[in-house]
């Protein structure tokens, strides 16, 4: 399997590059910003596994992300679990949520799944607000572990996120090129025909929601240590909902490359913009860009490039 070996090697190279970058101890702000962009690579890739590959739109990204974050908070508060445990646990809990919502709604039309995810974030946020142990509505302070690698915890989290981004993208690429990915594409193109051609559509859909949920939870798990003060409004931030959609749509939803392009472009733009415009204005612009792409360039940048190439 030459292709897989080469992919893993490239992934490893990226991780090593990330680690080297961390040791250079350049401007600390770059690690802060880099973490956010890498986090969005994971989020956008995760969203796209369900949205782009299978065609089922998840509007409740904040729910899955925050669930990963709050699972981590719970484990930090209760047993002071190490970071790898937080990440795996956060992923598993969000995966379970994905499976549950999927099981309840995926036998119906895709629209009902989307509507359920839309309502999901609000409900989950209400539940977290009422849970004092993880801080409730007031929020909770979390103390980072001492003596981190690279001397600075944010720099360390940056490298962790590099690793998570590589894992997410590799997983997406692997799924996309496998028979599972072909089955997902078939059910996205025409679910009725796919089912009649032997594709177990329900099982594949549940697989996609579970994997997508897992990766979203994984993205959220380091969040408490990154922000050190976790409160529901930031964990359930609308940013995650719209960016998770906009980044794959801008980049292109049919391949693993699209979410990466979208995350890097939109994420960097937003990082640059936070100093000049308000966060609301930022969201407003993202909303406009999203609608513009959906109406005018639905296949995203990848689609535009493909069309230019075939001229």
């Amino acid at each position: 399997m030459q292709g897989t070996g080469r992919t893993l090697l490239i992934g490893l190279a990226v991780v090593v590059a990330g680690v080297l970058l961390a040791t250079l101890r350049i401007n600390p702000y770059l690690y802060f910003a880099g973490y956010v962009i890498l986090q969005y690579i994971v989020i956008a890739t995760a969203w796209n596994i369900l949205g782009g590959y299978a065609g089922y739109v998840n509007f409740g990204t904040p729910a899955f992300f925050a669930l990963g974050a709050y699972t981590a908070v719970y484990l930090i508060q209760s047993i002071r679990a190490p970071l790898p445990v937080l990440i795996v646990a956060g992923g598993l809990v969000s995966a379970l949520l994905g499976l549950a919502i999927g099981y309840l709604t995926l036998r119906l039309r895709g629209v009902f799944f989307s509507i359920a995810t839309l309502a999901l974030s609000i409900v989950l946020q209400t539940m977290i607000i009422n849970w004092e142990y993880v801080g409730g509505s007031r929020g909770l302070s979390v103390i980072r572990p001492s003596s981190p690698p690279f001397g600075n915890y944010v720099t360390f989290l940056f490298t962790v996120m590099v690793l998570l981004a590589v894992i997410a993208v590799t997983a997406a690429r692997f799924i996309e090129r496998s028979w599972v990915g072909r089955g997902l594409a078939a059910l996205r193109d025409n679910e009725e025909a796919a089912e009649c051609m032997g594709v177990p559509t329900l099982r594949l859909k549940l697989f996609a929601t579970t994997v997508s949920g897992f990766l979203l939870g994984v993205a959220g798990a380091p969040f408490p240590y990154y922000v050190t003060f976790v409160e529901p409004n930031s964990a359930f931030n609308l940013d995650y909902a719209v960016n998770a959609l906009a980044m794959p749509m801008i980049g292109g939803t049919t391949s693993w490359v699209g979410p990466v392009i979208g995350a890097v472009l939109l994420g960097s733009a937003q990082q640059l913009a936070t100093v000049t415009i308000s966060s609301e204005m930022n969201l407003f612009i993202v909303g406009i860009v999203l609608v513009a792409f959906v109406v005018l360039a639905p296949e995203g940048i990848l689609g535009l490039v493909r069309r230019l190439r075939s001229r």
Partner: protein, 240 residues
Amino acid sequence: MVATPLLEVQGVIKRFGGFTALNRVSLHVNPGERFGLIGPNGSGKTTLINCISGALASDGGRILFEGHDLAGFPAHRRTRLGIVRSFQIPKPFTSMSVLENLHIPLEYAAHERAHAADIDAMEILRAIGLEAKAHQKPAGLTQIEMRKLELARALAARPKLLISDEAMAGLSSAEVDDILAILFGLSEQGITIIMIEHIMRAVMRFSERIVVLDAGERIAEGTPDEIVRNPAVEKAYLGE
């Protein structure tokens, strides 16, 4: 000397709200048979096909395939058992090439690995006459090519029973003959075929046995000659 029927439909009932689309319909199809299913518009043919393929759940009666009751089997499982249907309005996988369209049933219904699937897909396209378009997307196909793709895709699922749902509707006379030739060829390979059609000359030439539905009920069964001479059939199509 009649072998066990490949497909047995026993008293199937299907209702949509207050409307009864199928009222205790029974029929059987023998292995290797060329079977025709005809009836005026709205008689329940497609509904019956949907119940057999698993797209719809019936409200009563039983459907047996190779002796096994299909109750509770989802559509994809029935396809793997060998019941394959093509769609009246072609439903190709639009983001994939013609060749890749065939990959799906080859991999999922016939359980072939990727490399073998490539070879077999090309063979099927060659047999059907679509190999020139193998790498094109369905959007660039003509009407008859789309119908052929539907059939090719159904073939790729390695059917024991192929249900061809109005594959010839709207085609020219020559194109109808083209599709008919393909279906005859498949029958010779041993595939049992149920043909649903409105083009009478095609059904009459193709079928060994025909069942006629009208308003959800079976009103006639027999050879093409018997059906043509049956007054009940004439009445169903032409009215009183």
